[in-house]
Amino acid sequence: MQLIVDHLSLQYNKGLSTEVKALDDVNLVINEGDFIGLLGHTGSGKSTLVQLLTALLEPTSGTIYFEGEDIFDKSYDRRKLRSKVGLVFQYPEHQLFEENVFEDVCFGPRNLGLDRKSVELRAYEALKKVGMPDELFYQSPFDMSGGQKRKAAIAGVLAMKPEILILDEPTAGLDPQGRDEILGLLRKMHDEDGITIILVSHSMEDVANYVNRIVVLDSGKLLYDDKPRAVFANYKKLEEIGLSAPKVTYVMDALRASGIEVPEDIITIDEAAQAIIKALS
């Protein structure tokens, strides 16, 4: 399982004065086991890339290969892609529609043409995976809290058993605990079930704490593709394009400026605490 993005470009309004290069010659290889943070300011091309990866849009030029096949080839059966690459949209709870949570989660696997027993088994497993309490299975999604709805919506995609899961800002609008729960769930799916995860995020702190690779887009172009530590070392450049480094990176920077010797590549609170204790001892 591998997704290869090959010289991918997408122009809106091509040939008109309003031409916009939403994505401009992007090359990227997404490997099995990756946990990628996809960053970029509003309008940088993140959503366009995500919609191309799931074949919801067609590129102007270039292509994407999934398991060795060109997904934009006329003869390619896109169901192969869609059954293995799951997409959780922003505010996915707005798409819940069934009478109860369990039925909603069944919708996807039922569309795969599975028999009733397997559909229900998958729904059950997915709801268990996201930590949905049993007593809520037959509740109307509309009576649940924001965090629970979000989990129900993610369960709906998990029930499709994707190998790659793409999530567009899955923590937007959640309280801090809800944020930690969703991110913890993603880590568990990555570590225990081997699911490849692409996390679109605006939170540098979340990304620093969870992912093992960061891809940064700017004006449709790929700017960085590296380990979090290496990407956040460019925080001045990141600021120029509307992003930033995690807060603690700035604290460490200021500490160095005032003569306290701490390393340059610190991105999490725990690392920062250890470095300060070491510098003072």
Partner: protein, 286 residues
């Protein structure tokens, strides 16, 4: 002088089945008494479902209390004849800028509020210009809002409220959908409105960092106010905040971890500058 006041405010959502029978009642706001002073910057924190947004919707008469009462600038929100006065005094900005912008051009959008209020044309344009200047969006006045970034759109939403000359602006998670730069822009604008224009700000957010500059932080849980104090006082209580599904700013968390490992760092550190000066003191003491 108080600008917003609630007395024993309670609000119940009533769920009904298809036949209209009552299935259940949720008390989203439960006995909230609070007083917000003219010129204050108040932040409201709370987990999803804690009642923050329901409370906010009472403050400009979108919702009416099931029990108790709400006064905006001395006017009871239940008094329908005062409705437009109340909405003009207390403006509201919501989470999604795309749901709030209706104009084809930035300046038209900003002028929509005062136009609806029957402000004379000449004055509308003066107010539009003034509002866009305050929010630092004047160069964008002729642009289509669709071409703006999230942070810019949200500032246009704020300018639209500002053009109605409110005494108080309520912002319900205005940065939830924005990138880091957009968040910074909005918070900077809101802070300036409070400090320069002396407008009362009520900011609801899930980002702890955004609360540091507030005069007062109110924490809600299960419809009730459970904590209230300066950011320093509130963020000193990390364990309690965690129980309430909340968090503290990253700098506060770092200071807390240092303290836990035995370093003599005081509670309630909020800013990078405070933390660094504490660490420097320790360095000198060595």
């Amino acid at each position: 002088m108080s600008i917003v006041e609630t007395k024993k405010l309670a609000y119940e959502y009533i769920r009904r089945d298809a036949e209209g029978n009552v299935e259940g009642i949720t008390r989203a706001v439960d006995d909230v008494t609070m007083n917000i002073h003219q010129g204050e910057f108040v932040a409201i924190l709370g987990a999803n479902g804690s009642g923050k947004s329901t409370l906010a919707k009472h403050l400009n008469a979108i919702f009416y209390p099931t029990e108790g009462s709400v006064f905006v600038d001395g006017k009871d929100t239940k008094d329908e004849s005062k409705l437009w006065d109340i909405r003009r005094t207390a403006g509201m900005v919501f989470q999604n800028p795309d749901n709030q912008i209706i104009g084809q051009v930035v300046e038209e959008d900003v002028g929509f509020g005062p136009e609806n209020m029957g402000v004379p044309t000449k004055e509308i344009w003066e107010r539009v210009e003034e509002s866009l200047r305050i929010i630092d969006m004047l160069p964008f006045r002729k642009m289509s809002p669709m071409k703006l970034s999230g942070g810019q759109k949200q500032r246009v939403s704020i300018a639209g409220v500002l053009a109605m000359h409110p005494k108080c602006i309520i912002l319900d998670e205005p940065t939830a959908m924005l990138d880091p730069l957009g968040r910074k822009e909005v918070i900077r604008a809101v802070t300036a409105l409070n400090q320069v224009e002396k407008i009362t700000i009520i900011l609801i957010t899930h980002y702890m960092e955004e609360v540091i500059g507030a005069d007062r932080v109110i924490v809600m849980d299960k419809g009730q106010i459970v904590m209230s104090g300066t950011p320093k006082e509130v963020f000193s209580q990390i364990e309690l905040l965690k129980e309430l599904r909340l968090d503290v700013p990253d700098v506060t968390m770092l200071a807390y971890k240092l303290r836990q490992s035995g370093l003599p760092i005081p509670r309630g550190i909020l800013t990078q500058e405070e933390l660094i000066s504490e660490i420097e003191k320790l360095k000198v003491a060595k």
